[in-house]
């Protein structure tokens, strides 16, 4: 399952929302491997959400093709095969929960797919466990916090047993604690259950935790590589109207001030380690970012 087979392949995508509008996607080619955790970054309006909506045939490209495993997204016959394989979670958790009880919402996709009730029960419980919301299963969605609601939405998608999870700015509306919980849930799904994750985000701290980062700008891919490769050049990241991860920014400032810190540092954990080493003290155990 490790990262050699292709999950999603996009070839030379061109897309416009209106006939005479500008190209939201302008020749985007990308490949997502099975089991990978990919973060997609970019300023507002760079086309990252548009790209995500091409991954499960919500949008179809004007030019170019998208393949989900062996299926072309233009192939209507396999529409539900594609949507079952590539699940999508959106930004506003309130607007993607259909039912009035958590477990019924998690079951929604399975009901649509015509899964028999006994098997459905099993899969719904399993999905709720995986997303860490099992104890809230009989509550009404509007009684939950933002992070919990977003995990309900994730459970509703995982119940389909997808191979790939596309998160379209799913942490943007959450508070820091809710965001961290969602992030951990997604990381767990990726590591333990081998679900491929495509995470579209504004938060550099989330991108740092991915295996690979794709940076988009003006409808095409500007940079691509591991987080360390992408964030190496702070000036270039800023030129694309993006932030540099806080840890990286701190290290940049320290270097300017003449302190010798490693240029490769981008995550908070690495930064803590490096600073502790500089101060000659061991890093505090349990010193968590959140």
């Amino acid at each position: 399952m490790k990262m050699d087979k292709s999950m999603i392949r996009a070839q030379q995508l061109v897309f416009r929302y209106t006939q005479e509008g500008r190209r939201a996607l302008n020749g985007v080619s990308a490949e997502i491997k099975k089991g990978e955790f990919v973060a997609v970054l970019g300023a507002n309006g760079c086309g990252k959400s548009t790209l995500a909506k091409h991954f499960n045939a919500i949008l179809l490209p004007e030019e170019g093709e998208v393949f989900v495993e062996e299926y072309n997204t233009k192939d209507e016959e396999h529409l539900y095969d594609i949507r079952q394989r590539v699940g999508m979670v959106f930004q506003n958790p309130d607007n993607q929960i259909v039912a009035t009880v958590v477990e019924e919402d998690v079951a929604f996709a399975l009901e649509n797919l015509g899964v028999p009730p006994d098997e459905m029960r099993e899969r719904v419980d399993e999905a709720m466990e995986m997303a860490g919301i099992y104890k809230h299963r009989t509550k009404a969605p509007h009684k939950l916090s933002g992070g919990q609601k977003q995990r309900v939405a994730i459970a509703g998608v995982i119940a389909m047993r997808p191979d790939c999870l596309v998160m379209d700015e799913s942490t943007a509306m959450l508070d820091p604690i809710g965001r961290e919980k969602v992030m951990r849930t997604v990381e767990r799904l990726n590591r333990e259950f081998g679900i491929t994750v495509v995470m579209i985000t504004h938060y550099m701290e989330e991108a740092v935790r991915a295996d690979r980062v794709i940076v988009m700008s003006g409808g095409h891919i500007e940079m691509e590589g591991t987080p360390k490769e992408v964030f190496r050049d702070s000036a270039k990241i800023r030129a694309l109207k993006l932030d540099v991860p806080q840890a990286k920014e701190l290290c940049d400032l320290l270097r300017e001030a003449g302190v010798a810190v490693d240029e490769e540092i981008i995550s908070a954990e690495e930064c803590i380690q490096a600073l502790a080493a500089l101060l000659g003290k061991p890093a505090q155990p349990g010193c968590d970012v959140i």
Partner: protein, 270 residues
């Protein structure tokens, strides 16, 4: 202020009536209404009241709640009572100036009032003991045969579910918009009635726009989860008719036939 609005009037509990199959409850309620209209005589009504008292007792729902559901229709009851009291011809009991009250009028008023109260109390029992979601589910299943006639049964049930889901959200949003408009100096609670109605426009327009945006996003999220209408759909919760359901339904059915047929008995007596 908007926090006080409750959806429906579900009163959670674990009585036999709460646990009864919602389809059976729904059908029995309809049967009860029919029986009530057929059996509009003192015997029938007395039996109906008795039945309701027992049912409320069993369900553990306080009878005073009925008063709450009666309040909105109290003016209608009073109005029809007045009309019947003063304008039904017959043997006068009391006469003053142009006002004449007759025995027949008084009888009509009694029958009518008790009937309406029973009607409200009976249907309320259904909504008190059944959550709106379960009720929607029951409706969908009961109406399923009509889907063959191309009636959009599943779609209607889906719309009801979504409406129930979004009511608390929209209430919350209205509250937020009202606060936002107040913060900009809108006067929502003062002024003449026409002013107050006009002041609601800047609340309603953003609410509508946001509702449409929500609908759009929800539709996309539903598509992502392979929603394609009611065809080939299965349900997580299956409804089962148990022994209890059959027993209760049978008892109620017999009683309703007696209530409905009590007119014959009353006719023989009178």
């Amino acid at each position: 202020m908007l926090k006080d609005i409750t959806i429906g009037q579900h009163f959670p509990g674990d009585s036999v009536i709460h646990r009864m199959d919602p389809r059976a409850k729904l059908l029995l309620t309809i049967a009860y209404i029919v029986a009530l209209f057929l059996g509009s005589n003192p015997i029938g009504l007395a039996l109906s009241v008795l039945f309701l008292l027992v049912a409320y007792r069993v369900s553990g729902i306080p009878v005073r709640l009925v008063g709450k559901s009666l309040r909105p229709i109290l003016p209608i009851i009073l109005f029809t009572a007045m009309l019947n009291l003063f304008f039904v011809p017959g043997d006068p009991i009391f006469s003053w100036w142009i006002i004449t009250i007759t025995w027949q009028g008084l009888y009509n008023v009694m029958v009518l009032s008790v009937r309406i109260v029973c009607l409200i109390a009976g249907t309320s029992l259904l909504t008190y003991t059944t959550s709106p979601i379960v009720l929607t589910d029951a409706l969908e299943r009961l109406l399923r045969p009509f889907a063959k006639l191309h009636l959009p049964v599943h779609e209607l049930a889906m719309m009801m579910t979504i409406a129930l889901r979004f009511i608390p959200l929209l209430i919350e949003e209205t509250d937020k918009i009202m606060s936002a408009q107040k913060a900009r100096g809108a006067e929502l609670d003062s002024g003449k009635l026409t002013d107050r109605i006009r002041a609601l426009i800047p609340v309603l327009i953003p609410l509508f726009i946001s509702a449409f945006r929500r609908a759009d996003e929800l539709a996309m999220a539903m598509e992502c989860r392979c929603y394609h209408g009611g065809e080939g759909r299965t349900r997580l919760h299956q409804l089962h008719l148990g022994a209890n359901d059959y027993l209760l339904t049978a008892i109620c059915a017999v009683l309703f036939v007696v209530i409905g047929g009590s007119d014959l008995l009353w006719g023989m007596l009178g």
